[in-house]
């Protein structure tokens, strides 16, 4: 019984951690971003930040759990719907999907290094080397 009581808050915490996605940019990036802006950048419909500077979105591989949360919360689609969406553009020469990185650490490193980059990680993984542009709950 006691074990169960401990387990419940622990589970709830882990769900909350998975539920919050932090969209991150380079600390020098002053652009303000709405969910719609992020949607446009990660679907290739916008190529610049709201201040007009070039944006380079970096994605997470599908194997990373937070990817599915991001696809659902920021883009409103499942990961397989996103794959179908990109296959329409890739196989017609009309677009290239964002580069995929294998881990949240790689996304943090890529965004910390590149003033044009925009990525996302779970909120709990955010470090001081990047700036949180928006948190998706």
């Amino acid at each position: 019984m006691l074990k169960k009581l401990i387990l419940i808050p622990a589970l709830a915490l882990s769900f909350m951690a998975a539920a919050n996605v932090a969209v991150i940019v380079h600390p020098s990036n002053a652009a303000t971003l709405s969910q719609d802006d992020i949607n446009k950048l990660f679907t290739g419909r916008a190529k610049t930040f709201t201040d007009g500077k070039a944006a380079e979105p970096v994605n997470l591989a599908e194997a990373v759990a937070v990817r599915a949360d991001f696809d659902q919360k920021a883009l409103g689609r499942s990961s397989s719907q996103m794959k179908a969406y990109w296959s329409k553009l890739v196989f017609t020469g009309k677009g290239t999907p964002p580069k995929e990185l294998a881990s949240e650490q790689e996304v943090l490193d890529a965004v910390a290094k590149n003033p044009a980059a925009i990525g996302y990680v779970s909120a709990a993984a955010v470090t001081g080397s990047v700036k949180v542009a928006l948190t998706l709950n």
Binding site: K83, S87, F91
Partner: protein, 378 residues
């Protein structure tokens, strides 16, 4: 064949040779098996024998980013019906004039329909095949150039494509194949989308020439014989030489709250020829239940024979039967119903099944076919 292999090797080598270039390789494949459901049914190339070849295909696409906004894309595709012989489905250069304006030049997909660009990429849509009543023009690609412009208009995403070029190859005419040449193709396709809604129009014109073996043959062909009878004007009304042609299409789709509704209406004409005016449409509705998407669709083809061509020919005339037969052979009224399901069983693959029943009112026959298969991207 050897030539083709050498060409592929040369292109591969030149792509690899560009050591600075970032090369993306993507691929897609459809492995489908199907059959007509009763012994004398025939539809979409299926008969009563189960076939894995008829609609299966595999393709590799290589895109090399050469830097400075220039890239080259080549798609190699092999179809089961061609014994898996690999062909360049398209090969083009792209140059980004600005972030929103791109020029493509080379062998391109003609933007007749909403799904023209990726009709071979089954993974990109829910059906087992694009609706054949509408997508049955008989040729898909063009050699030429296109200008592709994307922008936002208020809350709408706008994609405008202008295309010029020509086509030289085979084209379907009724059940036969003709050597076709379509020159001075000029067209525009425009798609507006917002939050699950999209709307598309396309309009293309060109000059069509078809060489059909038993008709255009000198001396013994129908046209030569008509001309010999002093009916040169009738021959000219029938033949297909540099005729003004047009294609118009309009479509919309809605993807909202997991409901999917899509429809296209098209009309194609070739003036001063025996080719019937082709009017077609389809409407499809589906619902996404997580990874399972069932759908139903209805298609209609209405190709009206140009009987006015032979209206002045007396029925007793010896030429009446061949001329009327030719003109009437392109009359077709056919309704088709499809019921199917897509199941996303894997992140890169979808299992699909589709049943089609086509009611050909002109020939008074019904044909049905069932196809099951897997579409994947890699």
């Amino acid at each position: 064949m050897l030539k083709r292999k050498l060409l592929a090797a040369t292109i591969a080598a030149s792509l690899c040779g560009a050591s600075q270039a970032a090369v993306d390789i993507n691929g897609f494949a459809s492995i489908k098996g199907g059959m007509a459901l009763s012994s004398d049914d025939e539809l979409y190339g299926y008969d009563n024998d189960f076939s894995f070849k008829n609609e299966s295909l595999a393709a590799l696409q290589v895109k090399s980013d050469l830097g400075d906004k220039l890239s080259v894309t080549a798609q190699l595709l092999g179809r089961g019906t061609d014994d898996w012989d690999v062909k360049f489905e398209w090969a083009f250069l792209s140059y980004d004039l600005t972030d929103s304006l791109r020029v493509n030049a080379g062998r391109l997909r003609t933007p007749f329909y909403k799904y023209s660009d990726f009709r071979d990429v089954g993974y990109a849509y829910d059906w087992s095949r694009v609706p054949q009543s509408v997508y049955g023009l008989g040729f898909d690609n063009i050699e030429g150039a296109s200008l592709y412009h994307t922008t936002t208009l208020g809350n709408f995403d706008s994609a405008l494509q202008l295309i010029v070029g020509s086509y030289d190859g085979d084209a379907a005419i009724g059940d036969a194949t003709a050597e076709a040449q379509i020159d001075n193709v000029t067209g525009v396709a425009w798609e507006l989308g917002q939050d699950g809604y999209s709307f598309r129009v396309a309009y293309l014109i060109g000059k069509t020439t078809f060489y059909v073996d038993p008709l255009d043959t000198p001396v013994t062909g129908l046209y030569a014989q008509l001309t010999g009878f002093g009916l040169g004007a009738l021959a000219k009304d029938l033949d297909i030489i540099d005729e003004s042609s047009s294609f118009a299409g309009i479509g919309f789709n809605i993807d909202k709250n997991d409901w999917l509704l899509v429809s296209e209406v098209t009309k194609a004409t070739v003036d001063d020829s025996f080719i019937s005016d082709q009017e077609s449409y389809y409407i499809s509705i589906g619902h996404r239940f997580d990874s399972i998407t069932p759908y139903v669709s209805f298609e209609k083809e209405d190709n009206q024979a140009k009987t006015e061509i032979y209206a002045a020919v007396p029925t007793a005339s010896p030429i009446f039967t061949p001329v009327a037969g030719l003109v009437n052979s392109l009359e077709l009224e056919r309704d088709s119903i499809n019921v199917g399901v897509r199941y996303d069983f894997h992140p890169s693959a979808a299992l699909k099944a589709q049943y089609t029943n086509a009611d050909n009112k002109t020939a008074d026959r019904k044909d049905s076919v069932l196809v099951v298969g897997v579409d994947l991207v890699f």
